[in-house]
Symmetry: C2
Subunit: 415 residues, 2 copies
């Protein structure tokens, strides 16, 4: 990171007086001690001692898709978006993690003492685990993103919360599913698992056995505390890099089976070829600039840090490139956080804005060498005309364009 | 981490039937679908859409030192402890970060639009930065612990929250102080900086210029959102690896000077030798087992994962060893999270408890090769008798012993 910083600092300081380059005269030269604001204080209550809260000046909040305050026309589907425009670093605060549910706005309130996980089906020793049983086992902690397949930009979207707010990143703690499967003894001929949740529609999904035996987690911890109810308290199946619907909340049953099982969740996945179905579930390399992004405002020409997030279901992010001229030329961005597998990485690039209208965009390449496509490339791949109506089939990981007007306002440039 | 897991799994499965080894018969063999608990649900309010909350079944909270609910006899000192016994992974949830303050229980409520940071003193260009100015600069995100020098075990302490709860670990985001100092142009002859907060007693501390130009941060982000008011909103000086009092909250002024400046905070630091003073501020290698720890209860003999945290002000943690026989023999623990510099690392070690009374302990070695000492070693070093009254001068990083009784109860073994 230090090497990274050095190259940035060079960019940032180059071309004359340091102060002038910094923020176009916005930074004041200090002639004396700055005037001190009147100190307002708040008394600490027992509640604030027990569990702290945000500043009243911090008002960043999640918003439902299309600002609906109740489930949509499908009856129960309900999506709540992370305010990525305010994000810093790589971890999404648990209170701001996106929510997608088919259970409407009702969240199960499960007593962890009563919760059980059964593993059964094609195993030698079907087992039922209490939460205490699970917590005695060898534990892993890993940073992974979860993204909903519905996470896609539309021309009407006004900010990055609307275009990309259905992806979030957490430090998950639990036991590897492979550890549990070894205890149960998977029988030959098994090829899939079905994870099922405790809520009324069971939130079941089929996952290839190879994935289940690789890096899936049965997780109870999220960002240093128990998983939140909106995220599956007390237990969630984490299937790193697969779309959100596979990350079964409230997981109570994992059945080892010999075929893909159709479930309530399959409305979007039905495919005659089970291999295509399985591969279609992995999120492609994706990135988005969160600052400057639509709805934000630059304060005149000068130095800015372009900042954003990149992720891939195909492994770690290898490189992120940023263009400030609508994709004509690209510069490699620096990583501000470690690039873990199937996790958000924060990227940054120093940039001196000349005050002219421009379009900025980012492009991610993952460890597999897969490159995030433009919408034009996606249209070509799927052999469809590139119109405003063109909707990328499956997960949409196309490049997002932001247009910066000469007055510093930033807009969604849907191309 | 996979290699790590493999060695653990071997330990965990060895010596007979996998199930018997797992949790001493506690795991049930599944004969059918487990009975399903009645599903209780909670309706989602606009507040819960905006910003999520914990499960009502999660009751882990911070506690004031000695359960005082108001400042202590010194007048305004107030310490609130992180519940490390419930911690998972490496990140401390911001709501559970420990709090230490000399301002009593009153927390400044600062409007970030009004906040300024002035850098002045022995610089060519004294500057005043707004929050917006700072956020335009090249940003870094780093995981660092903060520990209070008062974090020390006593014989009367009943759990790890009381013995070690004044250390917490966060993902901090901000600008390197070195970037700001370069903008201001540090003059020759300068050797220290003094960081000063906006609150009434100013929370000032002197930091060696070499440290300030190395890895110090001026941070506004904490675990993906703005720093919490109890942690210095909107701006905190992070001095990685130094004791907590140097991490100036509400920082509004950094003065570059040519000597150590005495401040209100120096009641514990006064030393005729400024070099000794500077070196004395760095936290030594330290570790503690958080599970099983005092106040917890093992549920009979069988397999358990011993889990804990290790950290050092001297760099990254190199190794953690665990003993389950009062320090006669040691085994190397595995890391469950990356070992960043001046950050908590989560360690784990699989262990099969035979049901007999024993004493468990952990020992940390950092990148400098410095080894966490026992209390007996500390007493010898300071040439004092090892009695219950012996108090390690400065930061106490000695090894913590937990005694597990044959009934599975765990106790603070103060030796």
């Amino acid at each position: 990171m230090d090497k990274t910083m050095k190259s940035n600092r060079r960019g940032f300081l180059k071309g004359g007086a340091a102060v002038a380059g910094l923020a176009a005269g916005a930074v004041q030269s200090a002639k004396g001690i700055p005037p001190e604001a009147e100190l307002k204080v708040k008394g600490t209550t027992p509640e604030l001692i027990a569990y702290g809260e945000r500043s009243p000046f911090v008002t960043s909040v999640r918003k439902p898709v299309a600002e609906r305050d109740s489930p949509d026309m499908f009856g129960l589907m309900f999506h709540v978006l992370t305010p990525l425009q305010d994000s810093v670093g790589s971890i999404t605060p648990s209170s701001l993690h996106y929510v997608a549910t088919h259970r409407g706005s009702f969240i199960p309130q499960i007593d962890p003492k009563e919760h059980r996980l059964m593993i059964h089906g094609m195993v030698d020793r079907p087992l039922i685990f209490t939460m205490d049983d699970l917590k005695r086992l060898p534990t892993v902690t890993r940073v992974h993103f979860i993204e909903c397949i519905g996470n896609r930009a539309k021309p009407s979207h006004k900010n990055v919360q609307e275009t990309h707010g259905m992806t979030s990143n957490s430090e998950w703690t639990g036991v590897l599913l492979s550890t549990l499967l070894k205890e149960c003894g998977v029988q030959s001929g098994a090829s899939w698992i079905v994870g099922e949740g405790a809520e009324e529609i069971k939130g079941a999904s089929s996952v290839p056995l190879g994935k289940a035996q690789d890096d899936c987690l049965v997780a109870w911890g999220m960002n240093g505390e128990p998983i939140r109810p909106q995220q599956g308290f007390p237990l969630r199946l984490i299937v790193p890099g697969f779309e959100g619907i596979f990350q079964t909340k409230y997981v109570r049953r994992i059945k080892v089976v010999d075929r893909y099982y159709m479930t309530y969740n399959d409305y979007g996945h039905i495919n005659p070829d089970p291999k295509a179905t399985a591969l279609g579930n992995q999120i492609g390399p994706k990135s988005v600039i969160t600052y400057p992004s639509a709805g934000q405002q630059l304060n005149g020409p000068g130095f800015y840090e372009i900042s954003g997030l990149a992720w891939s279901g195909g492994g770690a992010v290898r490189t992120v490139e940023v263009s400030t001229d609508k994709g004509q030329t690209w510069k490699k961005a620096d990583f501000r956080t470690p690039a873990f597998k199937m996790a958000h990485v924060r990227f940054g690039l120093g940039w001196k804005w000349d005050g002219k209208e421009c379009v900025i965009l980012s492009r991610c390449t993952d460890d597999l060498g897969t490159v995030q496509p433009s919408r034009a490339e996606a249209a070509k791949y799927f052999n469809k005309p590139l119109t405003d109506d063109f909707r990328v089939p499956g997960a949409d990981n196309t490049i997002q364009h932001w247009r910066i007007a000469s007055d510093g306002s930033v807009h969604n440039e849907f191309v």
